[in-house]
Amino acid sequence: MNWLKNLVRPKLRELVGRQKGTAGNLWRDCPECEGMIFHSDLEKDHWVCRFCGHHMRLEAGKRLVMLFDEDAYQTVELDAVPTDPLKFRDRRKYTERMKEAQNRTGETDALIVAHGKMGGFNVVIAALDFSFMGGSMGVAVGQGLLTAARLAVVQDASLIVVPSSGGARMQEGILSLMQMARTTIAVEEVREAGLPYIVVLADPTTGGVTASFAMLGDIAIAEPGAIIGFAGARVIEQTIREKLPEGFQRAEYLLDHGMIDMVVHRHELRDTLIRVIGLLRNTVPAADVASIPAAAETPAANPAPSEDHPAEDRPTE
């Protein structure tokens, strides 16, 4: 990729005349290989780099479009919960941070829940959006997961959860910690109904989210290169005062250590989920379900997501 980086890109830059990172940019740099990708291609490839296979973070809304059968789903309006239960204020008010995240994303909180068909099967998908305060889990997220679980039970649907979260939401203090118990109850309700509970671990999944519903899947799938762990790498480094091993806390590392069932390329995720649900429920998917077209070129993913999330949104252990 160096020839492209060194020779072509500066020229293209001049030609396009736009700065990296601005809205409406036609191009995007892969944070891994720095290859330049047309924005439209990136959308087509579901934010997987077509040069190196790096899986960039995918917005929760786009995740739903990618996973459900075409036009076969509805998002669920989630219960309102008490906002700012602790009247929390650090250098800024929590309510201000919330409003900002809401305005930026157009969502009320970090979790999106939708129900519909996938391969003809009834599924409920709950996806965390990392761009909303680091996908952190407070009362709203806990309540949303309970809603998702109950919807799955009522609809005889499989529950698929896609976490992408820094962990608990500090600004809700102990109540965010309590969501570890509440989301575990949500999982239990699905399990007791005899329905599949499948987790798709997306980058990053850490802290109290990992230590609750994210690690309780009947089937645990991870996206290539995703950071998955309990304690943050920096905290561990400070504790042991030595360099972390290569690939530490990456999806592939967890696979090697027996913590997850499989690492699945994003382009194969939908088909894999449909197959697994069909097998678990001993039934076959609808015949007319087309699998999503794979990208032109999908080399092995390079495990190294970017460190671009703001530290203030980074929640806790």
Partner: protein, 319 residues
């Protein structure tokens, strides 16, 4: 008292003077006796004043006080025939969590608790109360044992948090905690937890998703340490810890108001470390009372009630 916290210094100075007077050869002298009782009165008054208005940050220090009674002290005083049971049957024994069978006020129970240690040697042995996956897996194994033999479970929570280390991550720290919480919630026997010192985050709730959660007056229970919160949200772990402790609402009074804990156990004047025996006895009485209240419920009801409690939590916030 051997260790004084910063804000206890004025009391410590008075107690030093009292000690000096006592050691005088003519301490029987009525003048000295009078001075002694005056000083004692003053010291007690000062201690009462100090402890009646502890800030959240000061409580954090009291909760972490090295002389505060720890899990092994409670087991020693409250549990007869204590029979430690070791190991997770998969990888290792974890000394950060003490667990075993015993008799509490006449009935068999399973006891599980974090142990921080009392001096350098034991602190290292118990890894400062920071458990690894094998610790939570051992806890889970013992809870299931309790379930099978219909024995109540008592957990004692006192941990800065789960151990953040490479090996712990490799062996699935997150999964171990998640399964431990899940096991707590699935039990068909009474589960009573006491936050005896520091309730640090996921490592604490791993043992504390209980029917009844009791908390000592000056204990803390939080999603993150004040220092950790300060370094992330204030970008300053040294000077903002006090503000963070306040903002996190981690004191027993705050948590009772939020409905996270069921009962506050008052501590003796000057904190648990001032009078460990009295504290331990009060905790014992509170556990006995909690178990008595749960004894009329059958297994199914115990599980359902526990779930309902967590489902309702945080839905209504006191204004």
């Amino acid at each position: 008292m051997h260790n004084f916290l910063d804000f206890e210094k004025p009391v410590a100075e008075l107690e030093g003077k009292i000690e000096e007077l006592r050691r005088l050869p003519d301490s029987g002298d009525p003048k000295i006796a009078e001075e002694l009782s005056k000083l004692q009165g003053k010291a007690e008054k000062l201690l009462r004043q100090t402890y009646s208005k502890l800030t959240a940050w000061q409580k954090t220090q009291v909760a972490r006080h090295p002389d505060r009674p720890h899990t092994l002290d409670y087991i020693g005083a409250l549990i007869e025939d204590f029979t430690p049971l070791a190991g997770d049957r998969a990888f290792s024994e974890d000394h950060a969590i003490i667990s075993g069978l015993g008799r509490f006020r006449g009935s068999s129970v399973v006891v599980i608790g974090h142990e921080k240690g009392t001096d350098t040697k034991t602190r290292i042995h118990h890894n400062f109360g920071m458990a690894k996956p094998e610790g939570y897996r051992k806890a889970r194994r013992l809870m299931k044992l309790a379930d099978r033999f219909k024995l109540p479970v008592i957990t004692l929570v006192d941990t800065p948090g789960a151990y953040p280390g490479v090996e712990a991550e490799a062996r699935g720290q997150a999964e171990a905690i998640a399964r431990s919480v899940e096991t707590c919630l699935g039990l068909k026997v009474p589960l009573v937890s006491v936050i005896i010192g520091e309730g640090g985050s996921g490592g604490a709730i791993a043992l504390a998703a209980a029917n009844t959660v009791l908390m000592l007056e000056h204990s803390i229970y939080s999603v993150i340490s004040p220092e950790g919160c300060a370094s992330i949200l204030w970008r300053d772990s040294n000077n903002a810890a006090e503000a963070a402790a306040e903002a996190l609402k981690l004191t027993s009074a705050d948590l009772e108001e939020l409905g996270v804990i069921d009962e506050v156990i008052p501590e003796p004047l000057g904190g648990a470390h001032h009078c460990p025996a009295e504290t331990i006895a009060a905790v014992g009485d509170a556990i006995e009372q909690a178990l008595k209240e749960l004894s009329s419920l059958d297994g199914g009801a115990l599980k359902v009630r526990r779930r309902e409690k967590y489902l309702e939590l945080g839905q209504k916030i006191p204004s």
